[in-house]
């Protein structure tokens, strides 16, 4: 029984980790092979090995830019959490307030932020504009998820708090906020990824007018110089950062919810 169980576990592990990893590695090798066999010049499509050497050679430059992008991302995310959760709590206080303000939130949400970016760049100093852009895209998933969570409190538990004549404050802290936590964490995971995208997109929109030195700026700059390998190196760094942010937020959510929420528990036999 046990050996059977461990064998099936091993097979699952193989499928979960080894299979995607080997497919990924295989496609990199295929890419490398195609570039070499057809002698594709690096300014058209650089081989993975060249991208890696570029990444190492340009590391001081790219790493400094990565730090700039990361700072914008996390500042935007922190602001988005404070603003999104704060506004969601405010909206949850009364239906009238919610009705009055939700249309604004929705209009801002459905408007592609890249379309607002040029305007922000006119009104604001470019580094502030980039931050505001990243904030705006990360803000709405956090707001709407948290608002949904605050509204989906168990009705019987609400009755119970009524029965014990709980104050509004107690109700918020002991019942509504914990109820909203899984929803908020879902929003945070989406918001974290979007904050990075927002930071990159805004910096791209800022282009040469910006004083930015983030990764998007490096991409634009490398594009002007036809330094294609560096573009790929910067892209790889951005993807990796996105993965890392998503992974970290998913881990936080798993740790916080491990005792009680379905999403954080593996299926039991």
């Amino acid at each position: 029984m046990t050996s059977q169980l461990s064998r099936s576990n091993a097979r699952e592990w193989l499928l979960d980790l080894l299979l995607p990893a080997s497919v990924f590695l295989g496609s990199l090798l295929l890419w490398e092979a195609i570039v070499r066999v057809f002698a594709i010049p690096p300014y058209v499509l650089p081989a993975p090995s060249l991208i890696l050497t570029t990444l190492i050679a340009d590391w001081p430059l790219l790493f400094a830019s990565l730090l700039v992008t990361l700072r914008i991302t996390f500042e935007a995310l922190a602001l988005a959490v404070a603003g999104g959760v704060g506004l969601a709590i405010l909206l949850a206080q009364s239906r009238a307030v919610e009705r009055a303000f939700l249309p604004f939130a929705i209009i801002l949400q459905v408007t592609p932020i890249i379309a607002i970016a040029p305007l922000l760049l006119i009104y604001l100093e470019s580094s502030t504009a980039v931050l505001v852009c990243a904030f705006l895209v990360a803000f709405f998933p956090i707001l709407s998820n948290t608002a949904l969570g605050l509204a989906s409190t168990d009705h019987n538990l609400v009755d119970l708090f009524d029965l014990y004549r709980a104050s509004r404050w107690r109700r918020l802290v002991l019942l509504r906020l914990p109820s909203a936590l899984p929803y908020f964490l879902g929003g945070l995971r989406i918001g974290g990824g979007l904050a990075l995208i927002g930071a990159i997109v805004a910096e791209l929109a800022a282009g040469a007018a910006g004083q930015g030195t983030g990764l998007a700026f490096r991409i634009t700059e490398a594009g002007y110089r036809l330094n294609i390998p560096r573009i790929f190196a910067a892209l790889a760094l951005i993807s990796f950062t996105g993965l890392l942010i998503y992974g970290a937020l998913a881990l936080i959510s798993r740790l916080v919810l491990r005792h009680w929420h379905d999403s954080a528990r593996s299926r039991q036999m």
């Binding site: 002991l174 914990p178 005792h259 528990r265």
Partner: protein, 249 residues
């Protein structure tokens, strides 16, 4: 303990849930409201608890005011993010007791419902019956003179339900809590209560009351005794009559 006088509840949509309900609940008794689904049994409990306001009629409390009330819902209704201790602590916490003041009472109540040592478990880790026991402990921990139970064991398997029935009886006799219990099970009503009030289908009315006699303390023997069968038959017949009453416009 309390008297319902001409109580009626009409929902905003115009649905009449209950109408003309007259009922007395005596101190320390175990009273069951028995009726078909949707007859307004739960509405009466909510009115008694003050969770809804009556459209007509009034509730007269023998002490002049509504006392502390414990409420057990159809589902355990526990806070999934909080462990057993924190769930049972809730009523005391909302009453302003510190964790340290509350701890001995919580421990004692958990032992009473057979969950001593489960303080740190989370609801998800417990079986349905154990969750219902936590819910019961939470309802009783603040020592309410009146306990309202809304079909609490309907979702449990029979073995678990019988065990919880017995434990509830023991608790009630020990604590002298007045209980109003809602169920649609004839057998459960006869086994548990001293008095069964029978309700007609919507709009719900109380159409009869039957006193249940048995040697005390009741135990599993009562469930298979002749008096139990006789009284169950009597209650079934009354319920059948009540169902017929309901169809008269």
């Amino acid at each position: 303990m309390l008297r319902l006088s001409g109580l009626a509840k009409t929902f905003p949509g115009g649905t009449i849930a209950v109408t003309g309900v007259d009922l007395e609940v005596r101190g320390s008794e175990f009273l069951t409201l028995l009726g078909p689904s949707g007859c307004g049994k739960s509405t009466i409990l909510r009115l008694i608890a003050g969770l809804a306001a009556p459209s007509e009629g009034e509730i007269i409390w023998s002490d002049g005011v509504r006392p502390k009330i414990g409420f057990v819902f159809q589902e355990p209704t526990l806070m999934p993010w909080a462990n057993v201790f924190a769930n049972v602590y809730l009523p005391l916490r909302l009453a302003g007791l510190s964790r340290r003041e509350a701890a001995p009472r919580i421990g004692a109540m958990l032992s009473r419902v057979g969950l001593g040592g489960f303080e740190n478990a989370y609801p998800r880790e417990l079986s349905g019956g154990m969750r219902m026991r936590v819910s019961l402990a939470r309802a009783l921990v603040a020592d309410p003179p009146l306990l309202l139970l809304d079909e609490p064991f309907a979702a449990l398997d029979e073995i678990t339900r019988f065990a919880l029935n017995d434990d509830l009886l023991v608790l009630q006799r020990e604590l002298k809590t007045t209980i109003v219990f809602v169920t649609h099970s004839v057998f459960e009503s006869v086994y548990l209560s001293q008095r069964v009030a029978i309700m007609s289908p919507r709009p719900g009315r109380i159409v009869g009351e039957i006193a249940i006699y048995s040697l005390e303390p009741r135990s599993a023997d009562f469930r298979v005794s002749a008096p139990f069968a006789d009284q169950a038959k009597q209650v079934s017949a009354a319920l059948r009559d009540a169902m017929a009453v309901g169809y008269v416009p």
